[in-house]
Symmetry: C2
Subunit: 437 residues, 2 copies
């Protein structure tokens, strides 16, 4: 095969030709000259692994193959781009690429959330690069700022809106007042929710991203199983109304935080849940399918990164940035940042994490109810910030917002409240994040 003059070509294999893969292939083909100037050698697409080569896929048929393993193993493939999704299949393909000294660029958050350690060790052993900027927040640079720009600082907190589907649904519910089921259906019609939306609406996707963010922010291996997780499927239009009345909106947050226990031991909290966020907080204004990540560090202070967190072209932008960096390393020598796990911090159980809470309950409308409810909070050391009473009669609503309390204390309070004879129902319990108090 003849190559353009100059440096030897860098061969690229792309695994997957979906939304992201087809954009990666388009950019590689449309901007070959510009990419060559940036890398210092031509990037040559050797092949694309697909499930089926039937039909017109918009790329030269000779590039397509259903035999991903052979494509990855080709001598003239130097970098493998994995945008297939799934876990076991890409895991094996990435491992064989890394073991053969090939660099890997992947957007696969579910895989990384469970297997970053294994993949990073294979990369380390072979002296290859493992890049995954596209795995969190699409086009928004987050991985690189955390691993490189903040490499000399101490990150204390990462709070992000990193799932476009749930943010689209919550934004729409906030705007239209519609209920969850209708809004989810609408999101599906508009292409913002998958046929089976479980991974998004139950917070699995956001939890995988939280695991990745916590790992790199705190130099510790964190997997999806370490992340406390609640989804948005129980959020009602009544919750959004109540949030509004409190000057808040509701967002699904991925939170990663350094926490210190009573013994002064530093630990990590990683958690995903829908939370009330004050409308004047930067994350409250992130609407629709947009993503944003707020990072707090000891010296940098608070930083915010905002942009398109999903979609073919934005995600491909992040993949291409990684691909150019991996290719430059092949041409000029050197490697990207390695896994950093020296801190090896423990995960703090959710029960110990203090936050503020919003508790919405139905109570009988009679004298003494408020005082009995307040007494129950006090008994469990949970201090009340505001109480709002709505309606009257049997359907009276009581909305309590607490000061900071531990999750365990709050859970006991709620269990005790539920047993009170005049409490008809605990309608919802949500956390309140980002308040200045």
């Amino acid at each position: 095969m003849t190559e353009p003059n100059g440096a030897a070509a860098i061969g690229v294999a792309v695994l997957g030709l979906g939304n992201v893969g087809s954009e990666v292939v388009r950019i590689l083909r449309e901007h070959a000259q510009e990419l060559e100037s940036r890398v210092g050698a031509p990037l040559v697409l050797r092949g694309i692994a697909v499930r089926s080569t039937e039909g017109d896929r918009g790329v030269p048929a000779e590039l397509l193959t259903t035999d991903a393993d052979s494509l990855v193993a080709r001598d003239d493939v130097d970098i493998v781009v994995e945008v297939i999704g799934g876990i076991e299949v890409p895991r094996k393909q990435i491992l064989s690429a890394l073991n053969a000294g090939k660099s890997v660029v992947t957007a696969n958050k579910a895989l990384l959330a469970d297997y970053t350690g294994e993949l990073a060790e294979a990369a380390e052993k072979a002296g290859a690069d493992l890049y995954f900027e596209a795995a969190v927040a699409g086009a928004i640079p987050v991985i690189r700022p955390l691993t490189q720009s903040l490499a000399g600082d101490r990150v204390t907190k990462v709070a992000g809106i990193v799932n476009g589907t749930t943010n689209f649904i919550l934004s729409a519910m906030d705007e239209t007042g519609a209920d969850y089921a209708d809004t989810l259906a609408e999101a599906g019609r508009l292409g913002y929710a998958e046929a089976d939306p479980t991974a998004d609406v139950e917070g699995f996707d956001a939890a995988a991203k939280a695991a990745i963010l916590a790992s790199i922010a705190f130099h510790t291996r964190v997997t999806a199983a370490d992340v406390y997780r609640e989804g948005i499927s129980k959020i009602t239009s009544a919750d959004l109304d109540a949030a509004k009345a409190l000057g808040c909106t509701i967002k699904l947050l991925s939170m990663c935080e350094r926490v210190t226990n009573g013994d002064g031991e530093e630990r990590i909290s990683a958690r995903v849940y829908p939370a009330l966020v004050p409308r004047d907080h930067p994350l409250a204004t992130v609407n629709g399918a947009f993503n944003a990540v707020v990072v707090e560090a000891e010296n940098a202070g608070r930083l915010m990164f905002y942009g398109q967190g999903a979609g073919g072209a934005p995600t491909a932008s992040a993949v291409m940035g990684d691909l150019v960096m991996a290719a430059r390393n092949k041409v000029h020598g050197g490697r990207g940042p390695r896994e950093s796990k020296y801190a090896d911090l423990k995960i703090a159980p959710i029960g110990e994490i203090p936050t503020r809470y919003y508790v919405n309950m139905q109570v009988a409308d009679r004298a003494g109810v408020l005082s009995a409810v307040a007494a129950e909070f006090a008994k469990h050391d949970v201090s009340i910030s505001t109480v709002r009473q709505e309606g009257s009669g049997d359907g009276a609503g009581l909305i309590v917002v607490t000061h900071w309390a531990s999750d365990a204390d709050l859970s006991e309070t709620v269990a005790a409240l539920a047993k009170l004879e005049f409490v008809t129902a605990i309608t919802s319990v949500l956390r309140l994040e980002g308040s200045s108090e």
Copy 2:
């Protein structure tokens, strides 16, 4: 000298012990263990170059030296951190460091805006790193996202608020209604403006940063002299009132843009000026000494980066990130991104750049004035979007907002308006950026 066990120490020289330098030294000393874990070898501070070693500088006296040249030349110095400021002195020091194969981390935007080419060539020749994340927007990662994360994308526009002093002044004028002189004096009292504020208020600092941003975004050498520049010293409280009435605020913007001329030739525009920005634009909400940079790229879409753009600790955070990266390269081999200037695009003259304009003039209050003014705009092909008339009598004000027009056409219009007998004064001409129209 004995070093901790393990990899050989990386020796660091810090030039300057001002706001930023003293924070860098503090972090190096307080977090030595953590930094060693991240680098893979200890970072050892060999010395600090200062103008005078008199008095207690808060660091061990034996680290201080007034002989920067000898410090830079020491065999046990591997990386030089330049946070002195100025141009000729640090230029020589950085060049001798690079020529000796030492890596350099600098926060010196004024130097980089004029000499990045020379410094990058020295780095390239010696195989050393030249990092400068701290030179633009303090703690906010901007250089790394542009040079690495977006390395596979095509940036079309960078628009930033990158000068804290002017943003503090304009935010305060917007909030309090005070005039420019009083607000500048207040900024000085609060430490947000220097004794001689020229570099900030006349836009020189923002222009240096625009040159750096345009260079890396468009793979072309751009120097401060290529940047069109207007400062904020002529902005009046009347301008801010008028902006408010139009639903806008006023911000000093650093704009870098790809523009295409009539022949389809791609060129660069780099410019700094105060502009009206609609209040619902993300940059309008960036207040006080905060910085923000909006980047638009073909595939990534619009990204925004927000945080503290100045101050000792935030700027030191960016310096430390670069220092850890440069040290990792020393330990593990490899180099950071090199200068990329292959595109070599021409600079488009300001006259050809289309924007929208706000023109505030005093006119005699008599019949036919509005039609005569409108005719003058039409004669020069400048289409009017809105006109507002204020007051009456000799002091009547006329505020015109135009549709998109070239700077040259607008300048001719304004010159012609000034000659009209019933136009008493052209009070101000400002651009309007970030409108969706």
